[in-house]
């Protein structure tokens, strides 16, 4: 079984409260916010490593990211991935999900590996579109399903459970296939000291634009059908009135507030 896992380094979502927009440049100030591997991508990697333990084969991670993210990619290798591919070129910058998924598809093709399964975190913490897994499947003309909480492989088929609003829906996908793995769907393993040592000998292959057989009209910002305008920080602040007293007194005040808000109790 050859499994590819798409991963993305993102600013740590636990620190988004600290993000600001520079009033002059209108750009995002993300100073002091560390970069981590997108949480859902770790769930996807964990799912891949478990499938490898059961069925053998190898796990490759692939990422489209700036070169300085090599550290984070190393972390995936230390978790147990066998090899890594980093697609990195200014020409790919500013890509929306349409061109990102196109570029990832081209990167996967370039590896020359016949992947049976391509996993991705269902959504990234920063953009959170959850578009990439489906769009990757469309570019590669493979079956694709997102928001998957469980995945099993047998007889050339991936049996998956997809989260829907009122439960789970089960499908069988013929391999090769693309699966978006839901965040929190498993407990990603910790990186062990042994893992770090082993990762030293694993390769990270870097692809630039000239390495990939890409149509220039489909990459980067200029190849993206969606174009960003301005960034805004919404003002959500309200002027909270402090309620004080014994719980019983507060309860009486709250009841009055709730009634005033139009609730008949």
């Amino acid at each position: 079984m050859n499994i590819a896992v798409c991963v993305k380094p993102v600013p740590d979502p636990e620190k988004y409260n600290l993000l600001e927009i520079d009033p002059k440049t209108k750009r995002l100030v993300r100073e002091g916010i560390p970069t981590i591997i997108n949480p859902a991508d770790k769930n996807a990697l964990e799912a891949a490593l478990r499938l490898k333990e059961l069925h053998g084969g190898r796990v490759a991670v692939i990422s489209m990211a700036p070169l300085f993210s090599q550290d984070k990619i190393k972390e995936c290798l230390a978790m147990g991935a066998d090899e890594a591919y980093l697609i990195s070129d200014r020409a790919f910058g500013g890509a929306d999900t349409f061109s990102t998924s196109y570029t990832l598809a081209k990167g996967l093709e370039k590896t020359g590996i016949q992947f049976d399964l391509i996993l991705a975190g269902n959504d990234s913490a920063d953009g959170a579109t959850s578009h990439v897994p489906s769009q990757l499947g469309e570019w590669m003309e493979l079956p694709h399903i997102t928001n998957i909480t469980e995945i099993e492989i047998h007889d050339g088929i991936a049996s998956v459970k997809k989260k829907i609003s009122d439960g789970l829906i089960e499908y069988d996908m013929e391999l090769p296939a693309v699966a978006g793995i839901a965040r929190n769907s498993n407990q990603p393993r910790m990186v062990s000291a042994m893992g770090i040592v082993k990762a030293k000998n694993k390769k990270i292959e870097v692809y630039t634009q000239k390495d990939l057989d890409v149509d220039e009209g489909l990459i980067g910002l200029s190849g993206s059908p969606t174009q960003p305008g301005q960034l805004l920080t919404p003002d959500m602040s309200r002027n909270a009135k402090l309620l004080q007293g014994e719980p019983a007194e507060i309860a009486a005040e709250l009841l009055a507030i709730i009634r005033k808000a139009g609730i008949a109790v």
Binding site: N17, E170, A240, L254
Partner: protein, 330 residues
């Protein structure tokens, strides 16, 4: 300038239209107030006669339907193909899709099938001073809102979380209903086979439809305390909401009531948050509530900054006191 054409994917629930269809219809009507837009609803399901009738008097100008046994349960290939067919028949400028668990997958899939851009989880839709359609999308858990244009390709696809816009009932218009021949679905080859569905136990009032939401966070501390959250929601005729950690603790089963970027968007008359810290990811889903009341032991909790009333104290204790007061009054 020709009138704009807007297509809305109207999802179904038990044979009738989901509330999201009405939310998107109301919003779509406001976009081009001067030039009357042609708004069509797209319905894809099995046995959709009633839904088509309902749609015809919803205030839409057109209704497109695909009725096929293949569409009985959600299947990405069949549903995407049906919607693609409708889009290729109607040629919309704008295509609005609810970002439900299923719409969230259909929107990007259609984006590629129709070779166009998709703006995800829009918190607002506008038309700018140049008459261009402008989509406002949240990033970084809602801390930042970005403007997105789709300048070169049509339709401009936008997905919108259910609950983002209010329902404003529209006057019925003279409406044409077009039922498309569904034979293309019979011919479609798919590598995905539907095996079955496991439904969760319905848990009272859906959180996005309740007038009162009592939301418990990690600060509720114990499963036993959580019962107070449920008790208050029931006494107020509302729904229980939760944060991610409360789900992880198993105090609520599943994510149906989770509020935030990866959960539901709510705008109740009253939101009561107890033991909720106010992470960006959570605030994004409740900030439009009419009245926000928060209880937290930490006087500097972030949630207080977006609240109308704050109580510095134990969440479970305050909730319990309110329950007792309500019970005494009954």
């Amino acid at each position: 300038m020709e009138n704009k054409k807007i297509l809305i994917y109207a999802e179904l629930k038990g044979g009738s239209l989901e509330t999201s269809a009405y939310e998107l219809l109301a919003k779509a009507r406001t976009l081009f107030p001067a030039a009357d837009a042609a708004i069509a609803l797209a319905i894809a399901g099995c046995g959709i006669d009633e839904a088509l009738k309902e749609a015809a008097v919803s205030g839409a100008d057109l209704v497109y339907g695909v009725d096929s046994p293949r569409l009985e349960l959600y299947h990405v290939d069949y549903h995407a193909e049906a919607l693609k067919k409708i889009a290729e028949t109607f040629h919309p400028d704008i295509f609005l899709i609810p970002a439900s668990c299923t719409g969230e997958e259909l929107a990007p899939t259609l984006g590629l099938k129709l070779r166009t851009g998709v703006a995800a989880h829009c918190v607002d839709l506008q038309v700018d001073q140049n008459g261009e359609f402008l989509q406002m999308v949240p990033a970084f858990g809602g801390k930042v809102i970005g403007e997105i244009y789709t300048p070169k390709t049509k339709p401009q696809i936008a997905s919108i979380k259910p609950g983002m816009f209010s329902v404003i009932r529209q006057q019925p218009r003279s409406c044409k209903t077009v039922l498309l021949d569904d034979s293309f679905l019979e011919e479609l080859k798919t590598k995905i086979k539907l095996r079955g569905i496991e439904k969760d136990e319905p848990s009272g009032v859906p959180v996005e439809q309740a007038d009162v939401v009592v939301c418990g966070g990690f600060g509720i501390e114990t499963a036993d305390n959580w019962k107070q959250v449920e008790r208050l929601a029931s006494l107020l005729g509302g729904a229980v909401g939760s944060t991610r950690p409360a789900v992880d603790q198993g105090w609520v089963s599943g994510e149906q009531q989770m509020i935030g970027t990866s959960g539901k968007t709510v705008r109740p008359k009253v939101y009561i948050g107890a033991g909720v810290s106010g992470a960006t990811h959570h605030i994004c889903g409740m900030k439009d509530s009419n009245v926000i009341i928060s209880i937290n032991t930490d006087k500097d909790a972030e949630i207080f900054a977006v609240s109308d009333y704050k109580i510095v104290g134990d969440g479970a204790a305050v909730i319990k006191a309110l329950c007792e007061l309500l019970e005494r009054r009954q």
